[in-house]
């Protein structure tokens, strides 16, 4: 399995070094786990480590935090083990945040045994006039290779690090954290471009590290997987703390997504209670395999919900001494979790003794809350977070009063809704285009009370459509300035002059299927969805037997202007020369 053609990559993200470092109990948690992760990389003799952002919890880590990090990186990632892969791309483009724009292991003054490649997260993002982040200190020291930092707010061009080990070619794409709304818009506006090598495009395994909201926090406050280019093979998704490391297939884009999750719980939410893992990714040719490695130093976290109204047999709000009974119930629940924790911890000497415990108590229906500080006292020696074990909550009211609310909000809402239907319903492509945005903005509004969502999206769509039509000479700048057309009218114009999106997408899908069935040459089985079995399982994933459209318009959404960007390649050692095609979002 581990031969000279196989990349062995340790994948980890959201290490949040320094999280709660002043806490007497949990202070060392993040440090211990980074140590475990680096040690794991060393033991497994990986080719490199790929970090998905938020290595540091604080934008300005403390001295202790930086010192520990530097110390651990120097301890584990420097040494005599040789590096078995080459870099074929222009490193001055790949590593653009220091005066040493080359990979650390090729620096003649540093003896690197395990290169670390990292994008930055939202916690350790670049700030200040120099646009430097904490990672750049490590980068300048030669301990980390910070990549995926886009310096422009106008346009993002993601130029991959092209790695070759034996016969395997790995294109490593990365995009450091960008505010989700901004990135969302840039994707929608075709301002995000992923460059691809011009030669042998189908031979590359395309790996992309991203650090954004994956789950929808608002209409445009996340990045839909559909935004990502479908030539990718595997996306390593950082930022989301729930460990969903087993690659899941995106049926539309036909790539896989692995979400390793954080290696320390930074909130007491259910997502953080999932058992934490890192991944050992093997890539050989176009095939991959992701081995899940459970982390042993992570503090256990148990969470349970209690709905008091469900215990009507035992007590009701008016029952005498109901508070006492409720408290006893909670006490029993916490004790139960503590027992579970202890049982699970048996034989795991590296796991910290005191678990994190959270009991969410739904006291809807007339119950009252009890004194949590007295409750905490009972667990002060057994629980890592005695002060906030209990979290009281009440169910939200039902949504029967939407109409009432709309009435209260007044005409403005109605106007917006009307405008929405005028603009969107008549134009199929609009709702498709903004499938992830405007198409659902109405529901979003109703669901989540996000008042400005629709207005914002309509203005946005208006400007976009204007630009689109202007670029094609359908309307002029004067038309725009004079606000000659409503959005609805613009959409109709667009329908007339621009090839239908639905048609383009259907064509693209057909194209892919055809290629997929006829490409051959790869010996692996077709992609299969992988179910998450148990924590210790190794999940074999093989690369899809699908072909790549080389021509333009063969797939993708068929919109936008398609610039071809050729990037000169600096060569290192005995490596190939290559150049890039621009592969803008959704088109190739």
């Amino acid at each position: 399995m581990d031969d000279e053609d196989t990349f062995k990559i340790l994948i980890s993200t959201d290490i949040h070094l320094g999280y709660l470092e002043k806490d007497a109990i949990r202070g060392n948690d993040s440090y211990n786990t980074l140590n475990e992760i680096l040690n794991c990389a060393k033991i497994n003799q990986v080719d490199f480590i790929l970090l998905g952002g938020d290595l540091f919890h604080d934008n300005k880590p403390t001295r202790r935090c930086l010192h520990s990090c530097i110390t651990m990186l120097r301890k584990y990632c420097m040494g005599d083990s040789p590096i078995h892969f080459n870099i074929l791309s222009d490193q001055t483009v790949n590593f653009n945040t220091t005066k040493f724009p080359w990979v650390n292991y090729q620096d003649e003054n540093l003896n690197i045994s395990i290169p670390v490649f990292s994008i930055h997260g939202n916690h350790d993002d670049p700030t200040g006039a120099e646009g430097l982040c904490a990672l750049d200190l490590l980068s300048a020291s030669g301990l980390v290779n910070h990549f995926g930092h886009s310096h422009s707010v106008e346009r993002i061009e993601i130029s991959p690090i092209l790695l070759q080990k034996g016969s395997t070619k790995l294109a490593l794409y990365g995009l450091g954290s960008i505010p989700d709304e901004r990135l969302y818009r840039m994707f929608v506006n075709n301002q995000v471009t992923m460059l691809r090598p011009k030669e042998d495009q189908d031979e590359w395994f395309n790996l992309f590290a991203i650090h954004q909201n994956r789950s929808k926090h608002g209409p445009t406050n996340y990045i839909p997987e559909q935004f990502l280019d479908d030539f990718l093979d595997l996306v390593v998704w950082g930022h989301e703390h729930e460990c969903l490391i087993t690659p899941t297939r995106n049926e539309q884009q036909l790539f896989y997504v692995t979400q390793p999750g954080s290696s320390v719980a930074t909130s007491l939410s259910p997502g953080e209670a999932t058992k934490k893992h890192i991944g050992l990714l093997r890539v050989k040719g176009r095939r991959m395999n992701l081995e899940k490695i459970p982390l042993k130093t992570v503090r256990q976290f148990f969470i349970q919900d209690v709905v008091l109204a469900d215990y009507e047999d035992a007590f009701m709000p008016e029952t005498p001494q109901v508070m006492k009974k409720v408290e006893n119930l909670c006490y029993a629940k916490v004790a139960e979790m503590l027992e579970d924790a202890e049982r699970e911890r048996l034989g795991c000497p590296l796991t910290p003794e005191k678990p994190l415990i959270r009991l969410r108590v739904d006291y809807s229906g007339g119950f009252e809350t009890f004194n949590t500080s007295r409750f905490s006292q009972k667990f002060v020696d057994q629980v890592a977070n005695p002060k906030d074990i209990i979290h009281f909550l009440r169910r939200r009211e039902k949504k029967e009063d939407i109409k009432g609310r709309a009435a209260v909000e007044g005409l403005r809402v109605e106007d917006l809704v009307k405008q929405y239907f005028e603009a969107a319903e008549k134009t199929v492509q609009l709702s498709l285009l903004t499938e992830q945005g405007m198409g659902k903005a109405l529901r979003e509004f109703v669901d989540k009370d996000e008042k400005d969502a629709i207005e914002e999206l309509i203005t946005y769509q208006l400007e976009k459509t204007q630009r689109h039509l202007q670029a094609r000479g359908v309307i002029t700048e004067q038309d725009i300035d004079a606000e000659m057309f409503t959005l609805s009218q613009l959409c109709q114009l667009e329908q007339l002059y621009v090839p239908s999106l639905t048609q383009a997408m259907a064509r693209a899908r057909l194209h892919r299927l055809e290629r997929g069935e006829t490409s051959g040459g790869l010996d692996g089985p077709a992609f299969e969805d992988i179910a998450m079995d148990s924590d210790e399982d190794t999940v074999p994933v093989s690369s899809p037997a699908r072909g790549r459209g080389r021509g333009r318009g063969g797939r993708g959404r068929g919109r936008g202007q398609f610039a071809t960007v050729t990037v000169p390649v600096r060569t290192f050692g005995n490596c190939l020369t290559t150049a890039f095609d621009a592969c803008a979002h959704g088109c190739n």
Copy 2:
């Protein structure tokens, strides 16, 4: 001159990296000068760089500051030039602030061309539970060798880094900044020990880097040169910003002191106006030579004093339009300085264009101040500090009213003075012992209004004398607890039981002179005082032809308990094994 037996050391201090880094004009000054210093080290192919503290201006340097520093160190101090000296001492003792307790150039994973040895200053001193300073980040990265960090507040043991190049043996002592009062007391209490190699003591050139007040800021708020062990050959004194780099001889201790001064002006005081230099120190055997190297990137700083009362021929406070005349005078003075600056800068392309200008205007005698913001406007394009060119001051009143003040202060002062004379005058050794402290405390009080100085010193002396006598069994702990003796009585007891200090010192001096005249074997001329000539001069200094007392009591002040400390020596490569004698302050 530069042969295989000659250490070539670049000496610099108080670089204050990051000083005013947000200033539009001066923001890059400290960075440019660090760059110049490191470049100078590289060009001169020095064996190592010795920094005397305050490399960083801020205890928590900004990201930009750390990033720049790391970048420059990596650029200039890493590379293939071989290192020509060995370290003979136990490096785990020398470099005790990281998990890598060895000199960076011996680390197998780092290719160091110029090792940097640095003590910390008061600006970048260790803080927090971990006792880490900014320097330790560089240390952990392997870019700097931080030494001279004492982790104990009870006792300071300065264990030298023992370096050998060819036949030259260099013992490098360092003591990072400690609050002056605290260190003063520790010296007085014999809590500061300098260890010396047991073998071949006379063969070592003893170099000491210290970062403390050298000029007296208060009775105990500085470190008198006399406190330092007289076996030293050269003291590199950091912290003081005035460049007094030409070694001056301390006639009492017979060592030399070089005060390189800061490489950036952090205040507009006269000391900072002295031309800034770094030093190129050559040490061969026991001889040394310090070459002054003027810094080219340092912003010029001109300062002048104007006493308005001196211009009585031109104007008086009641002269019509006197303000205008005063302003014109100041204007002319500043213009004059600007002309001087420009002339001096001719042919110095690296020197920043706009100089720092300070005009101190003494307006005593009834004059008024004028509007400085209007004044500043005139020089906004020519001066680096337009906003604070003018500094108005008034002469202090004469000291004729000391008696009056004393009367106002009341009995307490008189009591203190009485107590002082009772205690001090009768006991010769007391005034000698505290020559730098209590002996001058009275004048200090009168001069500088430091009310607590005497009381503090007397209490201090009382405790010290008590401990001293208790250690000799003259008095008991019960006596102390019961406050059986006054300071005066204790001093008398001390006089009876402890050999007279004056006698001990006289004996020691005699001893030294004898040795000095008879030692021979060193071919250099006897020490000579060196006058500061011009900026470009090279000042040859040769080591004194003086012997070293090996026995105890042969010199020094003859007090205190003399512990012998033997330190195991870790060996690196082909180096000698050695051990240490404890050489406590003032005794051997």
